[in-house]
Amino acid sequence: MSPALKTLDIRDTLDLSQRLLRQLANGVCTFEEFASSLILLLANASEAALEPCTALLSPELARAFLTFLEEHLVKVDFKPCPKPLMVGPFSEDEIEAKKRQLRPKYMRLYELVLHRRQSALSMPPHQAP
């Protein structure tokens, strides 16, 4: 991906993440819908978009999102079904290859959200972002 496209991708992903956050705050979607949509959005984006997008999460949201990630990513060894990120038709081998390809990105996402929650926990309550 060219630098220009990467920048475009990061900006677009940030915009869509912010939209999801606003929709969650305004009750347009449930937390489950928000979390699963955010995971897919970030999995489809370039890795450079992960950090700025996870930085948007509030400490409370990061904690809840981490629990969701543990349920949906850690339990399946960071290899959830990749079909929503693939264009068919695809073979079982291609699905496995895609799972392997996406695993580091999911792990990075988990690390970032974990770090976000821990950094929020280490701050005194009045300094938490």
Binding site: L5, L16, S36, L41, N44, C81, P84, L85
Partner: protein, 330 residues
């Protein structure tokens, strides 16, 4: 020997003469330019416009007929070259018709070709104005699917143009579809890779409070990165989210739905379903007939039709994927 007074008088007369000559030259030049401009406007411009209208009209008519018959859109460069080639004999015919002398020699043809370059600029302007007029007309008439995204001004021009297509029926009809009937015309995709866009646009137009301005940012790149096989489910969700300014519109992916779950979803939300391995269709609704459940489908490759729900579910597969779009409070 001339006195100083005489010399000064001669110099003055010479200067005066020079100024008068310069003035006369300016006046003659202006007059010639004015005459040239008048002749150009009254004689050449109408001929250029008539030529442009004839050549552009002829090529557009042939191209339009070709598109309707085959569904294939020819490249803009090929059309431009054809217009250019056609405009030379048309220009000569128009010249003869208005009684102007026509030079049929090689150099004469070259001169005409040069003039045609100017004509082509005129043709481009006419095409732009004509395109806008047709777009405005279509936005008022609508089509079988709904209002067209004619507000689209941003993004990929080719995709944008492609989406301004008339209502038609796909070449394959209902061949290969089990328990399907009542095929009617709808806006059809012109490329295999754009079914997701067409199905998404159908839903966007439905939920948008105003005529949507479609943002094609990155869509072409996404399709190219997917080996021109179209958009994946998440990219369809992103496309819809990006193009619905209203934040009460929420698009998301649903997976592995049962018949009952699909019906419930259809009752509440707009649904775009992934079928046949790699194809997106919009499910417009459902109804009961003689104890059987049917769904109404907008298929960008075929048209609008009805299909028995059980057969449609078979097309979706067991680990099916559906993009659902809802308006909260709408």
């Amino acid at each position: 020997m001339q006195s100083a007074r005489t010399r000064d008088a001669l110099n003055l007369a010479f200067d005066l003469q020079q100024r008068q000559d310069a003035q006369r030259w300016r006046e003659q030049t202006l007059e010639q330019l004015g005459q040239f401009a008048r002749e150009f406007v009254t004689r050449d411009v109408p001929i250029m416009l008539v030529t442009a209208a004839f050549s552009y009209g002829t090529v557009s008519a042939v191209h339009g007929a070709w598109r309707i018959m085959t569904g294939i859109r020819l490249s803009a460069r090929l059309l431009w070259a054809t217009e250019f080639a056609v405009s030379i004999p048309i220009n000569q015919a128009v010249d003869r018709a208005v009684g102007r002398q026509v030079d049929d020699s090689f150099m004469g043809t070259m001169r005409t070709a040069g003039m045609m370059l100017g004509t082509q600029v005129g043709a481009r302007i006419l095409a732009r104005v004509g395109g806008l007029a047709v777009s405005a007309l279509r936005s008022r008439l609508g089509n079988a699917v709904g209002q067209l995204p004619l507000g689209a001004r941003v993004g990929n021009a080719i995709l944008q143009q492609e989406l301004i297509g008339g209502a038609r029926i796909g070449q394959t009809g209902l061949t290969g579809l089990r328990d399907a009937r009542n095929l009617t015309a709808a806006r059809l995709q012109l490329r295999d890779s754009t079914c997701g866009l067409y199905a998404s646009l159908s839903a966007i137009e439905d939920v948008a409070s105003r005529r949507p301005v479609i943002d094609f940012q990155g869509v072409r790149t996404s399709i190219r990165l997917n080996d021109s096989r179209g958009l994946n489910s998440q990219q369809v969700v992103n496309f819809i989210s990006r193009n619905t300014r209203e934040e009460q519109v929420f698009a998301r992916l649903e997976r592995s739905l049962s018949e009952q779950q699909l019906l419930q979803l259809l009752g509440r939300e707009r649904v775009i379903a992934h079928v046949d391995g790699n194809h997106w269709v919009r499910v417009l609704g459902s109804f009961q007939e003689n104890g059987a459940t049917w769904v109404r489908v907008y298929d960008p490759a075929r048209g609008n039709y009805e299909q028995m729900l059980s057969s449609f579910m078979t097309r979706m597969g067991s680990s099916n994927q559906v993009v659902a779009v809802r308006i909260v409070g709408g």
